[in-house]
Amino acid sequence: MTPRYRLENVVRRFRQLPSGNTVEVLRVPQLEVQPGEIVAVVGPNGSGKSTLLETMAFLQMPDEGRILLDGCDVWAAGDSVSARRRCPMLLQRTVLFQTSVIRNVLYGLRVRGVGRARALPMATEILRRLRLEGLAHRGHRELSGGERQRVALARLLVLRPDVLVLDEPTAHVDRANAELIDGALRELHRSTNVTVILASHDARQAQGLAHRIVTLDEGRLLADTTDDGRHQA
C-alpha cells in the first residue's frame, strides 16, 4: 500500500539573525505514515516538532530531501496549494479572523470555491459537534480561550480533509475543552479514517489518541514507537 506520507532525508535549516549563519533545525532520514494512522510527535520545546508539522503541512519547503504525499513528490510537482488543501493544519498559535465564528469556519470552504448554500449546513454541523452552535454569530473577541481553540479546530474539521496536522491542539485549554477536542478527533477518525499528525506536550493525550509516537530531540528522530510498544523500522 502506498503510504500517505513518506519523508526521505528531509532537512530544514533556518538563518540566524543577526549573524546570518544557518542552523539545522530538522533532520529526518525516513518517516512513513499510513492512511488512517494517528501519529503523535513528542519532544521538548525547540525539538523541531512545529517545524516537522509545518513541513508535513507544506507550509515550509524542506532545504533537502523529499516529501511524498500518496506517492507524489509535492514540491517537485509544484502544487503545494493542492497539498495544503488536503492537509490543513492547526497552528500552535491560534489566530481567529476578525469576524464571526461562522465566517471563520466557512473560510477554508470559501477558498476552495464551495458555495454558501452547500457550505453553511456543513459549518453548522461541525459547530454542533464541537458544542459551538450557540456561538455561530459571536465575534472572535467574545470567546474564551477554550472556545477559540474549538473554533480553530472546527475550521479544519469542516474541510473533511485526508490529513489533519495539529500543533498542540489542547496546550492552552482546560481539561473539559481538551476532552471535547479529543472526543471530536476520535469521532472524526472513526467516521472518516482521517490521517492525523499531532504534536503534543501532553503524554496522556498522545498515548490516548495515537497509534504511534515519534520522539524528536534537537531536530533528530530519537524513537518511533507503536501503541503496543514496538519500535518502527
Binding site: 490543513p88 493544519m89 489566530v95 479572523f97 473560510y107 475550521r155
Partner: protein, 231 residues
C-alpha cells in the same frame, strides 16, 4: 470683539440660508477631495499592501522615502506639478493648469505617500500569523494576501479618511494649480484667503466654519473607524 461677533452672526446666516458661494466652494472642495482620495486609494492601497507583504531589495529605503514624503510642504508639491502642467512643461499641451483636474493631479501626488505609508503600517501591523493561518487552511498565496488586507481594513480605511481630510484642508496645491478663479477653481480654503484679502470677513468666517464642520466630520469618522478596529 464686536466685529468678530457681527462676522460670526453673518457667517451663521450665510450657512443657514445656503448662500450660493458657500455651497459652490464647499461642493468643489468635496469633489476635489473625493476624486483625489479615490485615485490615490486605487494606487496607494495596493502599493502599500505589496510593500508590506513582500520582501525585496531596497524595501527599507522605499519605506523611508515614503515617510519623508509625508512632510513635503503642499506648496512644494504645487510648484513641482506646476512645472509639469504649466504652459512650458511636458504636460503643457493638455492645458490642465488652473483647472479642477489640475488641482486633482496635485492633490493625488500630495496624498499618495500618505495613503501608501499608512497602508504599509496597517498591513504590516496585522498579525503575521494571519497569513500563515490562511495558508494552513488551504488559501492560495493571492487569497492569503487578500485576507491580510481585509484583516487590516480598519487601518486602511483610516488612511483613506486621513488623506481626504488632508486634501479638504490644504491651500497650497489648490492655490498654485487652480489659480483661485471664481466659479471655476475656487475651493473653500482658497476662497477664505481671497475673502480675507478683500475684507469680506463674514464670508471668510462662514467658509471657515464649513471647513471646520467638514474636518470635524472627518475626524469623528476617523475615530469611529479606529474604534471599529479595537485600537
Amino acid at each position: 470683539m464686536q466685529t468678530l461677533v457681527d462676522a460670526l452672526r453673518s457667517a451663521v446666516h450665510l450657512i443657514v440660508t445656503l448662500d450660493s458661494n458657500v455651497v459652490e466652494y464647499a461642493g468643489r472642495s468635496l469633489l476635489v477631495a473625493a476624486v483625489s482620495t479615490l485615485l490615490a486609494g486605487l494606487v496607494g492601497i495596493p502599493a502599500g499592501a505589496v510593500i508590506a507583504t513582500h520582501e525585496f531589495p531596497g524595501k527599507r529605503v522605499a519605506v523611508t522615502l515614503l515617510n519623508t514624503l509625508l512632510s513635503v510642504p503642499t506648496v512644494v508639491v504645487g510648484l513641482v506639478v506646476y512645472s509639469l502642467i504649466g504652459r512650458s512643461g511636458p504636460l503643457g499641451p493638455a492645458q490642465l493648469l488652473f483647472t479642477v483636474p489640475g488641482i486633482v493631479i496635485g492633490e493625488v501626488l500630495l496624498i499618495l505617500p500618505l495613503v501608501t505609508a499608512l497602508t504599509v503600517t496597517a498591513v504590516a501591523r496585522t498579525d503575521r500569523d494571519v497569513r500563515k493561518t490562511a495558508l494552513a487552511l488551504g488559501a492560495s498565496a493571492g487569497q492569503s494576501h487578500w485576507l491580510v488586507i481585509r484583516e487590516s481594513r480598519f487601518g486602511v480605511l483610516a488612511a483613506v479618511i486621513a488623506a481626504f481630510g488632508r486634501v479638504v484642508s490644504e491651500v497650497g496645491v489648490a492655490m498654485i494649480l487652480g489659480g483661485n478663479i471664481d466659479h471655476f477653481t475656487r475651493t473653500l480654503t482658497t476662497a477664505i484667503v481671497v475673502n480675507v484679502d478683500m475684507g469680506d470677513f463674514a464670508l471668510a468666517l462662514a467658509l471657515g466654519l464649513v471647513l471646520l464642520a467638514i474636518s470635524l466630520g472627518v475626524n469623528v469618522l476617523f475615530q469611529f473607524v479606529q474604534g471599529g478596529g479595537g485600537e
